[in-house]
Symmetry: C2
Subunit: 437 residues, 2 copies
């Protein structure tokens, strides 16, 4: 019998604030970072499970401490057992009654659970010899239902309903898998739209995006209305009338402000307004959505768990659900979120970017297409062209679409050289940066 | 000019799980703990500011790490300046754009902010020579409004409305202060009702509570319906028909379960059902409240911030708002929450117990009575008779009421001997417990 014998954590930070990559109305100077975990086993295959929480710099050490607090729940476990049923780990972590007090199921502690759970799924897919999206798409519906925690969900989704959705998802799955492998999954790009970029850079990058095959771009807004009018005008001029142009306020506004601001930008036909206000404000999103139509409302990258997503759907508060692979409690909770969305018919357009989020989230959308929602219509995965070079199997984008990963696992594995160079504060990059080399 | 020069943190843990004190349906074996902070200054008065996050054991180290992450925002600040305007510190901590990613405004990072902000208020009240409740009650309404962060609130409460509420609160404040000093503030007790206690212990403690002057008790429920029927029958028999008996499920149920379970206990006339489901589920609480009337619905000890409280009030989801002094971002955010409750007319019945929560929360309710809601009707503060002996100025209960504190500060200060004995893992208690002495 093989066991999990290693639980290695890393505080990995990249100095992205120096180029204003990733700058927006709420996050002026992010240093993209990851609280990173490697699970090692004593199995002869030598495979390891990788997972992480994305952060934007300060506090990445707190996130590492939270992952460390979960060590005892994982080390010593039977590898075959947890790979056959990652729900075991999910339940053990969510169910720790003392740690639960620190959430429950939100913030630092919940993201730590997500990192550990995702590492288990990475290991499970590697041992199964398939990319995670295919492991999920080929899975038995009853087994998938067993992976979901229905606590606090049954007023919106029962296990029986979930089973029915997943059984229906099997119809035509082979054809959709073939389409996916041939065509990929549509992406949109945020790369032109960071708030710190000049109009010239915005225009150039927006044109390049369209030339590269993207049918949707996104611009950051929310700091200054006059700037936003100018930037939206430039963006629309660059992409023309037929390419979708979303806008993203990163939670900058109160409800009333959001409504006024979006109306003031309506002449540029924004496709969706993303994160117009607090991610906690279900009723606020519903009020905004009612007021700004036909502009659509999207949110999710900071939505803390399935319970808030449930309410966003119950309240008719969103047009697009933007799940994040590393904000909630990992694959198990994202299965619940995908099922809630599928039942309500709301398209899932995942949040990505950051460190490794593109790598993770593609698997969830591809599973959703092949074996749950059965459609890519009005669905796009965010794409940002940052930091992919640090991953062993980076995302591949062609003609504005994510290519389906074929390498076994969850695409979560960073290069050993990156862990060495960017570990904070003692990696070689940071030492050199302080003049210590 | 004096500066904050010390920022000392302590991981303090008490072995409460050994007596099943504090046991409930979700927390079977809590070890009541505090991530504790002392702010020291170089002022000649020698005064220090104390604050903490309450946790129930594992993860208290993560909480300490989160408080440590805030050190640079505080050390070096001008003591007079921050004591004259604690909002400076509140805004700096909430506004750290990189740390914000770890919430925003929820979970570990937000509770850490609460500990620091509360320590500043403790220091401010000590330097002013008054208990915190009186500092707030005597404060200028414009100044109090300046302490509140209205972001994400203005659809429910504007600064102008807050100012009007606080101005109205001044009418008759002197008379209410005199009443408060003479009579105290009504308490209810949870001491009889822990799930781990036998029926005999429950009955004995319930009778003692009534004899001591309490007009409300609370029982934990939610693990087993047959047990709950038996325990509620025993509780009602012990206190008679005229004493209020609340029940508390500690988030154990789905929405449908909550409705069924409460109806099954209705024959014992429970006064309120507390935390029937997830604290994140605004719409779930609204559905439960509509279904279980005339039993009332209370929640709040795990409500993460003012934005969720806003929605609970907007949705008509609660009859009682149970704010917690150390879950949200400290006094500044609790001012916002008290103002939201005052505008809606929903009584605030704070959560207490744990470590030091009774000591803190009494100040907020007493301010509310003297200078905001202007009433104690249907308002009670939770009281649990645990661990008060570790505080320098413990709460005083007489005839079922909290006596108004008269010592300057926020009553947050633990005894130096306690910090030494119960620091984990190297305090003398824990060393002896491991047989190391």
């Amino acid at each position: 019998m093989s066991r999990i014998i290693g639980f290695e954590t890393y505080d990995v930070r990249f100095p992205t604030s120096r180029e204003l990559d990733g700058s927006d109305a709420m996050n002026p100077d992010p240093d993209y970072s990851a609280a990173y975990l490697v699970l090692r086993t004593d199995a002869e295959d030598g495979l390891s499970g990788h997972g992480f929480t994305f952060t934007i710099g300060r506090g990445n050490d707190v996130q590492v401490a939270a992952i460390e607090a979960l060590r005892e729940h994982v080390v010593g476990r039977d590898v075959d057992e947890v790979c056959a049923d990652p729900g075991i780990v999910n339940r053990a972590l969510i169910g720790d009654s003392q740690l639960r007090w620190l959430g429950p199921e939100k913030g630092v502690m919940h993201m730590a659970i997500g990192a550990v759970v995702n590492a288990v799924w990475d290991l499970a897919a590697k041992r199964a010899g398939v990319p995670l999206w295919k492991l999920l798409a080929d899975a038995d519906p009853e087994w998938l239902v067993s992976q979901v925690d229905f606590r606090y969900l049954t007023d919106a989704l029962t296990p029986e309903e979930a089973l029915e959705l997943l059984r229906r998802g099997k119809e035509g799955a082979a054809e959709r898998e073939a389409e996916l492998l041939a065509e990929g999954y549509p992406a949109y790009t945020t790369s032109p739209g960071w708030l710190g970029y000049s109009d010239e850079k915005l225009t150039r990058l927006a044109r390049e995006a369209v030339a590269a095959g993207f049918r949707q771009i996104k611009l950051k807004v929310g700091a200054d209305l006059a700037d936003d009018v100018r930037r939206c005008r430039a963006g629309r001029a660059a992409v023309g009338p037929d390419v979708r142009m979303a806008i993203d306020a990163n939670q900058r506004w109160n409800v009333g402000q959001a409504i006024e601001w979006v109306k003031a930008l309506a002449e540029f036909s924004p496709y969706w307004i993303e994160e117009p206000t607090s991610p906690d404000d279900v009723l606020g999103h519903a009020a905004i959505r009612a007021a700004v139509a036909p502009v659509k409302v999207a949110t999710g990258e900071h939505v803390q768990n399935r319970i808030v997503f449930k309410q966003l759907l119950q309240a008719g508060a969103i047009d697009f659900l933007q799940l994040d692979a590393a904000r909630v409690g990992g694959v198990n909770e994202n299965l619940a979120i995908l099922l809630l969305a599928a039942k309500s018919g709301v398209p899932v357009c995942p949040h990505a970017g950051g460190v490794g989020l593109c790598e993770l989230v593609q698997h969830l959308s591809m599973f959703d297409f092949v074996a749950l929602s059965r459609t890519r219509e009005d669905r796009v995965i965010e794409y940002v062209d940052h930091l992919h070079e640090h991953f062993r199997t980076p995302t591949v984008i062609a003609h504005g679409a994510y290519r389906a990963p074929t390498v076994p696992g969850f695409s979560a594995e960073m290069l050993p050289a990156t862990l060495k160079e960017y570990s904070f504060p003692d990696g070689s990059f940071w030492r050199a940066d302080r003049g210590e080399v």
